[in-house]
Structures are given as C-alpha cells and as structure tokens.
C-alpha cells in the first residue's frame, strides 16, 4: 500500500507537516512498497493511528456498567449489517461498538486501564471480542495482599518476582496502582486519607506501596512505568496529596528511556479548596511541578458534559459519589486484590463543580509545556466517552472555542480556574503527540505512534488540509474531520473509510513476560500456595489466564535476567 502525497505529522521521526508518501507492506511501514493499493491523500492530514493509553473498555466493571444501565445501551443503537455486528451504548458501548468507534476516529490501539488478576480472564474475553484495534490491559497491584506483605517485609526481589508473575497470570501489560492501600481498607468499609495513612492490618503506607512498586517496575525494566491513580482522588484539596506523592518518588530513576511514573486522569487529582463550597482549580500548581520535573507524565481525564459512567478500582470514591449524587451504585470487592465501583452520573454545564472540572482538564493540558508529558484522554467513560476525543482536540486547538464554551458554563469555571487567561492553542504537531506519539512512547510501544520504517502500518488520514484550515477559527471543521476519519488503516488494511467501517480484522493483545531470578520466583510460589490454600476461593491451578483467552498475543519481553 502507498499513501500518496499526504501532509504527514510524525513527531517521533521529526516530521512536522511534510508532504510525503507512506509505504506499507506486510502490515509494516517500509521504505518503498512493491505495489498494492494506492491511497490519494493529497491535501489531507496524515498521522500515525491514534493510541489510547487509558480507557475502561473491557472487564467486570465495564460489563457491570452495561448491566446496570440499559438506559445507556439504548443510546448508541446501530443495527447489524452484512459486515458489522450490532452496536449499543454511549458511555458503556458493547464490544463491537468499541472497536468500530475507535476505528472511525482513526484510533488503532487502546489499553484497558485496570484489571484485577483474579478477573483478568473476563477482561480478555471482552478484549478478544473487540474488533479491529490492538489492545492490552494494565494489571492492578496496589492493594494486593502479596504486594502489601512484600512491602511490609522490605523484600524488593520477591515483590518484583510477584509483579512479573502477576503480569503473566493476568496476561497484563503494566503495573496499575489505584488508591494504594485504600482498596484494602475498603474491605471493611474504610479508606486511607493520605500517603502516610497506614493500611489497616498490613502495617504499610501508600507512600511505601507506591515507592516499592515503582522500584520493582524499574528493576524489571518494564516497557511502561507504574500507572498511578492517586490517593484522595476526586476530593477537594487533593492537589496537595498529588504533589506530595510526586515529591515522595523524585529520587527514583527510570531504567528505560521513558517516564518513571505516569499519573493518570490528572483532572481528578488537581483540586483545591477545603470542600465543595470553595472548590477550585490547582491545575497550575500541578503543571508548574511537571514543567520542572520531566520524569513524570500524566493524562488529562477531560470531562465531557452529558452522561458518563464512572468506574474505578477506587471503590470508596464511588461510594462517596453515590451518596453525594443519590445515584445507582455498584461495588465489587475482589478477594485479596482490589475493590471497585461503578456509578452513572451526568455532568452539567451549569453545575459549578462540573464546570470547574471541565476547565481543569484543559488547564492541565495547556499549562504543561512539554506535550510529551501529557496525553489526551477522557478516562473513558469516567470523564466522558472516548467518542468525544475530537471535541477535546478542538478545545485544545482553539481559544475561541474555549471561550464559546465557557460562555455557556457556570461562571465559576472562569473565576476559579486560570483557563480564561490561557492563550496557548495546540498545533497539529502537539495534537499528533498528545493523541499518538506520546501515548505510544509512554506505554513503551516501540512500533506504535510513528510512521518510521518498521512501525506498524497503522495510519489515520483526515479530510482536512492543515495548511489551509485555521483550527483556531474553524474549530468545527477540525472536530468534524477528526470524528470521521477519511481513512483508518490498520496493519496496512483500510478498516474505515469516510467514517464508516469497511473491514473488521482481529487485532492483537499486548502483554509483558518478565523474567526474574528463579530463587525469587520460588519464594513467590511458596507464598501463593499458602494463600490459595487458606484465603482464595479458587484453586491456584485454575487462576492464571489460559492461552485460549489471548488468541493473538504480542508478547513483550522484559525482566532482570
């Protein structure tokens, strides 16, 4: 395949809006293809396929959202066709809709953000059913009893061996840490209140859990860093916890060429105020810190007005949401490992808190100077569904659009945030970074997020001429073009054309296989035998995800030996 004459943005390879051809053969970018389909991309924007590094797209929480929200299912209904299975849902789409809608946006890779080891089989059952895109799942470790015990005992070798084993058992890609310690405390209805609040029964603190997991992650030289959902997330005044957490790990160095810690959906962790009455943005404090510490990255967790389904392993947060909003509430605690919750809600433009939250996401993205430190996400479907990414990009590219939106919001969005004074408008290079190159680099996906020779043949082509359209003024044109890719190409095959899905290949699933010293692995095995005999409700031999559930794996090797 040859994509001819497009205006290419490929930041990893230093290509900034150059007119050039892209050749793909056997699913990969090559110097020059021997032949095949020719796509005329003249006058169009060409970028690597989009990469979503944080979305809740598969597993128990997502399906709980579907089951408790039939009213959401009705909102995205599209009938089956000769090629496509039916679609349902807006905030919690069915598996097919997830694949189709990403493809229509020009996205070709998405990672499920949180899966407990015990329920990873379910996550993979859904990932297998999502068509077209490549995918992976981050595995939860921050409240696992074996982790807490290794941290308590100061046993880094055993912890690293357990992390390697947990990734293998869950066929997971990276280390996700959610409200460390809080999930365990929630087992008896409690929580932790900060990074030095001890975890009941285990004599460890969130600070220690985060530090040890980061050190284990770096000892294993995993492709991705620890992916952290901070303590106190969603609470007024929590920016202090966030900064305290970051300061607590400044001395830890990455062992690979990437960040040492990714703080996810930062919008929910950048709040000032002592309560909801004086709730305010502290995004500038967070961005200032990031501007001085380039070892850390974050994603936005941008809020989208309208319906959302919040779902997180931060179960006490969801209980709080449900109480506050008198909303439907599902909770699911997972023995020895995690807790989780699901609460549907509606973000309102005239709701002062929601309006401020909306502004905070944008402030974070625009005040963080280096776009490589910042990923565009909505924490789908917590801030809102991923189908709204074109709206977010348009906001990042146009101050005029931001002003138009702010005029429709509660006025506290202007008074309690710095957004009205922010002039920055992202250019197409920034957009290519925060939606593709950045997430691929942050996840450590070597063959994603760029169009150099050897990269995956994942390309998105949008019917918009970056040389002619002024995104600041014509933000509606930008949004419309990004919402319906002219072409989405996955592994050298056109999967969407003019915003319609035209082919449904099956993507691959990334997971990380990390090697560890046998002596450490043996000590982990001995612990596991005891835990399964006494505490788990299933047998150890039935625990690990079987190969039958990952039929097209893409295994990334890591480890200490």
């Amino acid at each position: 395949m040859i994509i001819e004459g497009g205006i290419v943005y490929d930041p990893i390879n230093g290509v900034l809006g150059e007119e050039m051809d892209i050749s793909i053969e056997d699913g990969r970018v090559v110097e020059k293809a021997g032949g095949g389909e020719v796509i005329d991309a003249r006058g169009m924007l060409v970028m690597p396929g989009g990469v979503d590094a944080h979305a809740h797209i598969a597993g128990g929480k997502v399906n709980t959202g579907r089951i408790m929200r039939p009213e959401d299912g009705r909102r995205g209904t599209e009938p089956r066709t000769k090629l496509l299975r039916p679609s349902t849902g807006y905030t919690v789409p069915n598996c097919y809709a997830i694949g189709y809608r990403y493809a229509r946006l020009g996205y070709t890779t998405a990672f499920e953000a949180a899966t407990p080891i015990l329920e990873a089989r379910h996550t993979h059952e859904e990932l297998e059913e999502i068509p077209i895109i490549d995918k992976g799942a981050l595995t939860l470790f921050g409240n696992n009893w074996e982790v807490l015990e290794c941290v308590r005992d100061g046993d880094l070798g055993k912890l690293a061996a357990f992390v390697a084993w947990g990734l293998r058992a869950s066929r997971g890609y990276g280390v996700k840490v959610v409200n460390p310690g809080g999930g365990e405390a929630w087992g008896f209805g409690g929580n932790v209140k900060g990074i030095d609040d001890p975890v009941p029964s285990f004599d460890v603190t969130p600070r220690e859990i985060i530090r040890y997991l980061m050190r284990a992650n770096e000892a294993l030289r995993l492709p991705h860093s620890v992916h952290l959902h901070t303590n106190n997330l969603g609470k007024p005044g929590n920016y202090e916890t966030t900064l305290e957490t970051l300061r607590a790990v400044e001395d830890i160095a990455a062992t690979r060429d990437r960040q040492v810690l990714h703080v996810t959906h930062m919008q929910f962790s950048a709040y000032g105020g002592t309560g909801w009455r004086d709730f305010e943005s502290r995004a500038s404090d967070i961005a200032d810190y990031f501007n001085k510490h380039n070892q850390f990255t974050m994603d936005m967790g941008q809020l989208i007005f309208g319906s959302a389904t919040t779902m997180t392993a931060d179960a006490p947060l969801e209980y709080g949401n449900a109480r506050l909003l008198k909303a439907k509430w599902s909770n699911h605690d997972i023995e020895l490992e995690e807790s989780s919750g699901v609460v549907p809600l509606v973000y309102g433009r005239k709701n002062p808190i929601n309006a401020i939250q909306w502004a905070i996401g944008l402030e974070l993205a625009l005040l963080t100077e280096d776009p490589w430190q910042m990923i565009m996400t909505t924490d789908h479907p917590n801030g809102g569904p991923f189908v709204n990414y074109p709206e977010v990009v348009a906001l990042l590219m146009s101050r005029r659009k931001r002003e138009e939106e702010m005029a429709t919001l509660h006025d506290l969005a202007s008074k309690r945030t710095s957004l009205p004074s922010i002039e920055r408008e992202m250019d197409w290079n920034d957009v290519a970074i925060v939606t593709r190159a950045g997430p691929a680099r942050i996840l450590g996906l070597q063959e994603k997020g760029h169009l150099g020779v050897g990269a995956d043949g994942d390309v998105s082509i949008y019917e918009i001429n970056p040389e002619k359209v002024d995104p600041s003024r014509d933000h509606e044109v930008v949004k419309a073009a990004l919402a319906r890719a002219k072409y989405t190409i996955k592994a050298g095959e056109v999967v969407a054309r003019d915003g319609e899905v035209v082919a449904v290949p099956q993507g691959r699933t990334y997971w990380v296989d990390a090697s560890v010293p046998e002596a450490d692995a043996a000590r982990v095995r001995a612990d596991l035998v005891e835990k399964f005999a006494k505490y788990y409700s299933i047998q150890l031999s039935n625990y690990m995800v079987q190969d039958a559930y990952v039929t097209r794996p893409r295994v990334v090797r890591a480890g200490v030996i």
């Binding site: 598969a58 128990g60 997502v62 399906n63 709980t64 579907r66 089951i67 408790m68 929200r69 039939p70 299912g73 009705r74 209904t77 599209e78 009938p79 089956r80 299975r85 039916p86 679609s87 349902t88 849902g89 919690v92 789409p93 069915n94 598996c95 097919y96 015990l118 329920e119 089989r121 379910h122 059952e125 859904e126 059913e129 087992g187 008896f188 209805g189 029964s201 209980y319 449900a322 109480r323 439907k328 509430w329 599902s330 909770n331 699911h332 605690d333 023995e335 020895l336 699901v342 609460v343 006494k534 505490y535 788990y536 409700s537 299933i538 047998q539 031999s541 039935n542 079987q546 039958a548």
Partner: protein
C-alpha cells in the same frame, strides 16, 4: 488416573476443587463434590442419538438431517425464540447470540424464570457486591434471604459463606452470626443464630421496615410488620449494624414472590443503606453453573444481559415484552430453540402449552420433559466433563471448565455453529 482441580458443572458455586478418577476414558469416582455434583459427574441417562419428529413420533436420525431440520425451522420462523444457555459454556452463548442475530430472533436465558428480577433490581439500584472469597475472609454476619443453600448449593456454606474460614474469620462458623429469613424452617434455617419466619409475599414489607429501623425511623413502625414483631426486626437491624462485614445472600424466595424485582431493589437498597454504618455486600445465589455467564456474554455482545430481541437487527431489551415467557404467553413465538435448559419443567403452564404448538429444537446432553415437546432433538457432550469452555460463578468470577473424558457427541458450541452454517446457506439460496 486422578484428575485434580476439576470444575463442577452443576450449580452457581462452580466448585473448582473436584477430584475425578478416570479409568479407560470413563469416570469411576468423584471426590469432594456434593450429591448434586456427584450425580452429574457419575452420569445418568443420555439422549442416544439425534432425533426428528415424523408422524408424531421422535425417530433417530443423522446429525446432518437434524441440523438441516433445525435450520429450516429457524429460517422459516417469523419470531424464533432461542432460549436456555445456563448449563453450557460461554462459547455456546456467543454462537447462540450470533445465530439469533442471523435469524432475527429473540434470545433469553433461564434467568428469566430465576434471577431475572434480580437483574432488573440491579438496573434500578446497582449492586454492592464482592467475590465470594471476600465473604469467606471477612464476613462476620451472613444473611440468607429466601435462599436455602443446604439444599440448592450444598457446598456454599463451607466453601464461601457461613462455615468457611479465612484471614479475618479464623473461627469460621464460631466467629459468625447467621440470619435466615424464609417462609419455612429450611435446613439452612437450622444453622441460623436468628431465624425470621415471614409470610409468603411479605418480603417487601419486611425489608422496607428494616430499612426504616436502620435509618432511624423505626418509631414510625407499628408493633408488628407482616406478622413479625417489631422487636424481632430491631434485633435483626442491630445485628446488621453491629457487624464488621455483613453479606446478604438472596435467593429465589425473594425474586419469585410477590413484589419480585421490587423485593430485590429493596434488598439492594438496604445493603446500600447499611454501608453508611458498616461494610455490607449483597450477592445473588445463582442456580445453574453458568447462568451468570450467559448474562455477562449477552451484555458485552448486545449491551443487555437477557431478553434481547434482535428482530430489528439492533438489540432491543424490554423484559415484560421480550422475555421468553412473554413471547410464549402472547403466542408470538412461532419456533423455539432450547439449549441446555428445560423450560417444559420450569415455565408457567400456559407458556408450555404454547411451546407444544410450535416447532421446538432441543440441544442438550440429557433427556428431560422438554424432549417430549421437541421436534428436533440434538444430543451433545456435557460441558465441564466432556468439553471445555468458560463459565461464570454466581459472583461473576470467570473460570475455565475442563474436559475430563472424551465424548462421541459434538459440543453444544459445535451444534449451534452447524445450525448457524446451514441457516446462512439457506439464506444464500433464497
């Protein structure tokens, strides 16, 4: 040879520690299983061969003809109903949903006559639950409401609930309180610290009264509610609030008495209220070993967990209109495929009469009363014994069922796939 850690394909406990002794390709012994599981492993009468009805009699035939007849029936029907899916693996359910899409049918599971009202309750309120291991390790109070595990889920109490031991529950039953609420003194009730005998059909009133007491509005209640002394209810509420971790386990007594999903909504609300005071979870005691799995698969494939009408090409869900019994009671279904279930035994009489008047296809390893109503009968291997695949335990935990012995029969999944292939070919001919 002794096979270890085998999963039991009987009830929603999905016990995964069964030992099965196999000799020359046959099961000769089973350890750790309960009576119910044991009988399934040791085997009983099977459907010998495929059958089709000719001149009013079921006569043996080839698989090829049975598939062809099944495909013709489904293809000719205007409102085919594809029902069952509880005693088979998720892989069968996936194929079944695809078949339902292909023929524009309605697909529904046995939940419709089981915990369907629980699912509707969850749609109203959400479910504050946990895995069963969480109950095992933490619960110091167990409430069985309209559930009788001593008869229906014999190993539940020892493995997961009242009599299990764990990290924070080393004393097992001795360190726990057990409350049983039921309309009769069941065997489970004999293991209770507190038994509350309620009149049939009064669950909603009793739950509502408990909610009032828990939330401090007990002084508005009369001296007795549905025949139960207020002091009894106050004692129950005190026990609940005093627990460190309480678990309410709800059974069909709640879902299939007057009030149905409203009873469940009440129970879920009570548990949500109790979380304002202490830690509480609620779980449904699901019956068949993979009825929960069908709900999961159907939700991620169609967006809805049961009663999905695919006749418009897009999923449409409206229990009360699109559930199996609704279609049959309205005499709307003009053909029915039953996979791994026995509606003839479990459905209301009027709906079984409707079944008798339409062509019925049965896919099942075992003969049952539905066989007598069927026009095409296709025997299959027993999932979890003769075929592997995925099942979801009653708490939503996914596990892989194993194959212990070979079978001469095709799997459920293969049978549904074969019918799907033929349906597609018939479509091409038209």
């Amino acid at each position: 040879m002794m096979e270890e850690d085998i999963l039991c394909p009987f009830c929603g406990c999905l016990c995964d520690d069964i030992k099965v002794e196999v000799d020359e390709g046959r099961i000769v012994g089973v350890k750790r299983a309960c009576r119910l599981g044991m009988s399934k492993f040791m085997g009983h009468e099977r459907i010998a061969a495929p059958m089709v009805r000719r001149d009013g009699e079921l006569v043996e035939t080839s698989y090829e003809e049975a598939y062809e007849r099944a495909a013709q029936i489904l293809k000719a029907a205007k409102r085919p109903l594809l029902y069952g899916w509880c005693s088979t693996v998720c892989e069968t359910a996936k194929m079944g949903i695809l078949l339902a899409e292909e023929v524009g049918g309605v697909i529904d599971s046995t939940a419709t006559v089981c915990h369907g009202p629980s699912i509707i309750g969850i749609e109203e309120k959400g479910l504050a639950g946990s895995t069963l291991g969480q109950v095992k390790n933490r619960a110091d109070l167990i409430v069985f409401w309209g559930a009788n595990p001593a008869e229906a889920h014999p190993r539940h109490t020892l493995r997961y609930s009242s009599n299990s031991t764990g990290m924070f529950t080393p004393e097992g039953r001795g360190g726990r309180k057990v409350i049983v609420v039921d309309v009769r003194r069941t065997r489970t009730a004999k293991n209770a610290d507190k038994f509350v005998l309620i009149r049939p059909g009064t669950d909603y009133e009793v739950i509502a009264a408990l909610r009032m007491i828990v939330k401090g509005k007990g002084d508005l209640l009369p001296d007795a509610v549905a025949g139960i002394a207020k002091s009894d209810l106050e004692e129950v509420a005190d026990m609940m609030k005093a627990a460190k971790f309480g678990a309410v386990l709800i059974g069909l007594g709640l879902t299939h008495s007057r009030g149905r999903y409203k009873n469940v909504d009440g129970a879920l609300s009570l548990v949500a209220d109790l979380n304002g005071f202490t830690k509480f979870v609620v779980l449904a005691m699901r019956g068949h070993y993979n009825v929960a799995g069908f709900g999961q698969v159907c939700a991620w494939e169609t967006g809805y967990p049961m009663a999905v009408d695919l006749s418009r090409g897009a999923p449409y869900f409206n229990p009360g209109e699109t559930a199996a019994c609704d279609l049959l009671a309205r005499r709307e279904a003009d053909a029915m495929m039953v996979v791994a279930a026995d509606p003839a035994s479990n459905f209301p009489r009027k709906t079984v009469e409707a079944m008798a008047e339409i062509p019925v296809i049965q896919v099942d390893p075992f003969p049952n009363p539905t066989t007598f109503l069927s026009d095409v009968v296709i025997p299959t291997a027993v999932c979890g014994i003769e075929a592997e695949g995925t099942a979801y335990r009653m708490d939503g935990l996914s596990l892989r069922m194993k194959k212990v012995v070979d079978s001469v029969y095709p799997t459920d999944e293969e049978v549904v796939e074969n019918i799907l292939d033929r349906v597609r070919r018939l479509g091409d001919d038209n």
